[in-house]
């Protein structure tokens, strides 16, 4: 027999607090699809994706209905295309990207990730072709996401790749200028990219992963915010106000609950598809909907706005408490597993950036204590490529030194400047263009080469 509290609490979380499963992502290895012939390769890829993904959406919906918890997004991640399509030219890479887009459309998923290259220590032939093809590939497709890993704690930072990505981000924005540089919303530059991320745009299936696997992204920040608000109100009315230790405890317990939901639903989807279950990614991923925002959690914790002094401390506590609760709830935690702070995708963070409380510098500081990085930030269209590369290099350095994942997803909006708005629609939201740090990085970026991997002892 269930208690009243158990039933009411679950109902409230589903109806009023956006409790859901953010994404079920089907990972598919494409290593057995390789061929010297691009047509044959594309045929193999389409066949394999169709074989495993044709029932994905239907099964996710069935399992979601069974438990009364919606699976909001169904997605696919594949092996890094730069590796499995290594012999091909940039022109062929565009065709491969278009084939992935069509496969995603057929499977009725909204995104497919894995148009990716791992170049932290150097470029292979496929890496060069893939990166060269990115502007056209992303401009001519809707659903494909691209990620380029340019740094790691073991290998250091490939500064040639950093320089190149600065230019390619601008070229991708130019190729999608009619849509506000939309192509860049599907392009991320990483340090220490995990192999099993279910969230876009960084999802790809790593080389050490199974042939096919189901990874799950758990519910978003709305549930955590409401739990904190409820506990604070209860504490106030009972004459025992909460302190931060209590708040961390509330976050931990809530993370436990949402992770249990994600893991249970992911496991059942995997079982029904006869595919192994991989990981639950604990990341709090916001959406533009009010009440589903990471930024609002800062206000629940007593800050006037995200970006106010104390914000980095709140984010550190939030991120850590989520990991603690989630790790107890599931033995299969993986992916990014931290709070996301994507500016355009979170209405509260966007408002803080628009009103000047959140600058690029403060966002960079925040990324040192959370996943994933400088995410979905609109910058002026005339930003020099070397400035973008400089921002990437800084963010990669934070990831490399701290042994964590960091990433950069900047959108230089063609023809627009600071203070102007750009809208990407749907989950990607809208943003006001914020200024980039002043100063010139061109001499530094033109040096090229590699920043060596950091020492792994003498930790102070």
């Amino acid at each position: 027999m269930l208690s009243e509290r158990e039933v009411i609490s679950t109902l409230d979380m589903v109806r009023n607090e956006h409790l859901d499963v953010r994404t079920v992502t089907l990972g598919i290895s494409l290593f057995d699809c390789v061929s010297h012939d691009v047509e044959l390769f594309i045929g193999n890829v389409r066949a394999k994706i169709a074989q495993y993904a044709s029932n994905l959406v239907a099964v996710c919906n069935e399992v979601g209905d069974k438990y009364g918890i919606p699976v909001v997004n169904k997605r696919i991640s594949v092996s890094p295309i730069a590796a499995v399509a290594a012999p091909f030219s940039p022109r062929d890479m565009v065709r491969v990207c278009q084939a992935l887009d069509e496969a995603a459309f057929e499977a009725k998923v909204d995104f497919i990730g894995g148009f990716s290259a791992l170049v932290e220590k150097g470029f292979a032939r496929g890496d060069c072709a893939l990166i060269e093809s990115i502007p056209e590939a992303l401009a001519t497709t809707q659903r494909v996401c691209s990620s380029i890993n340019v740094a790691s704690s073991r290998s250091g930072i490939n500064m040639d790749a950093v320089a190149l990505m600065g230019r390619q981000i601008l070229a991708t924005a130019a190729a999608t200028a009619d849509k506000g540089g939309f192509g860049c919303t599907k392009l991320v530059v990483f340090a220490n990219i995990p192999q099993d991320v279910p969230f876009m745009a960084g999802a790809y299936l790593g080389i050490g992963e199974p042939d096919v696997v189901i990874n799950v992204g758990v519910s978003g920040p709305g549930v955590v915010k409401k739990a904190i608000d409820r506990a604070i109100e209860k504490g106030r009315s009972s004459g025992r106000p909460l302190n931060l230790l209590d708040v961390a405890e509330v976050i931990k317990k809530t993370a436990y609950k949402v992770t249990r939901v994600g893991e249970m639903i992911g496991n059942e989807v995997a079982r029904r598809l006869n595919i192994p279950f991989g990981v639950a990614d604990l990341s709090l991923a916001p959406t533009p909907a009010v009440g589903d925002s990471v930024g609002e959690i800062f206000q629940s914790c007593g800050l006037s706005v995200m970006g106010a002094p104390g914000s980095t401390a709140v984010l550190a506590m939030l991120n850590d408490a989520v990991k603690k609760g989630g790790s107890f709830a599931s033995s299969s935690v993986g992916g990014l597993s931290g709070a996301f702070i994507p500016v355009s995708e979170d209405s509260s963070i966007e408002a803080a950036a628009t009103s000047g409380f959140l600058s690029m510098e403060k966002l960079e500081a925040l990324t040192s204590v959370c996943s994933v990085g400088l995410d979905m930030i609109a910058i002026p269209g005339d930003t020099p490529a070397t400035t973008i590369s400089g921002i990437i290099a800084d963010e990669m350095a934070i990831g490399m030194i701290n042994h964590k994942t960091t990433a950069v997803r900047l959108i230089p909006v063609p023809g627009k400047g600071v203070g102007e708005k750009v809208s990407f629609g749907g989950l990607l939201g809208e943003a006001t263009i914020i200024p980039v740090p002043r100063g010139d990085a061109s001499g530094f970026i033109s040096l090229g080469g590699r920043i060596p991997a950091p020492i792994h002892s003498l930790k102070n």
């Binding site: 269930l2 009243e4 679950t10």
Partner: protein, 187 residues
């Protein structure tokens, strides 16, 4: 030995279970299962007991009523031969939780219960939470056992349609989700 089912219903107060269990013990009845609940001022309990073959239902009823009267408990007693075989053990079922919430009104439970009956679904537990969402608001929680051969999608649609006819918010969820979220269990 015979198995008897003994129900008690009446005004709640301290000492009822003490009187009843003493009365059963005095008549050599061994309690096998028991459940009790309190609703408002009412007490209700069902005991399933092993009783000696020679003990008649009428004799036991008299003894228990006398004991309750002596201790000044206003409680009715009903005794019958216990039924065999729990329904949910005979049919392979999945446990679901259906909730309806909205303005309290007559016919609410019967509308939902008719849908369950039509699909051969057993209600294992039914609870009303009044006033949770304000005055006149009623939340009903039906814990049900759904035969495994039922079409869950169709059942879900019928339950929602019944709820809509009464302007209620309706949800139907497998029970495991509540267990997973709120309870820590062994492997």
């Amino acid at each position: 030995m015979q198995k008897l089912s003994i129900s008690f219903l009446g005004k709640d107060g301290p000492g009822i279970v003490a009187t009843v269990s003493q009365g059963l013990s005095d008549n050599n009845c061994n309690i096998l299962q028991v459940t009790q609940t309190i609703l408002g001022a009412e007490f209700a309990a069902i005991f399933i007991v092993d009783a000696p073959d020679e003990l008649t239902i009428n004799f036991l009823q008299d003894k228990l009523e006398q004991a309750l009267g002596r201790d000044q408990h206003d409680i009715s007693v009903l005794i019958r031969q216990a039924s065999h075989g729990a329904w949910s053990k005979q049919v392979s079922c999945q446990p679901y939780v259906v909730t309806t919430d909205g303005t309290d009104q007559p016919g609410l439970i019967s509308t939902m219960a008719r849908v369950f009956a039509r699909h051969n679904i057993n209600i294992e537990n039914l609870k009303a939470v009044l006033g949770h969402g304000g005055e006149d608001h009623a939340l009903f929680v039906f814990e049900i056992e759904v035969p495994e051969n039922e079409d869950i999608g169709r059942l879900n649609r019928e339950i929602h349609s019944a709820g809509r006819s009464l302007k209620l918010n309706v949800s139907m969820q497998h029970r495991d989700i509540f267990e997973a979220m709120h309870r820590i269990t062994d492997f």
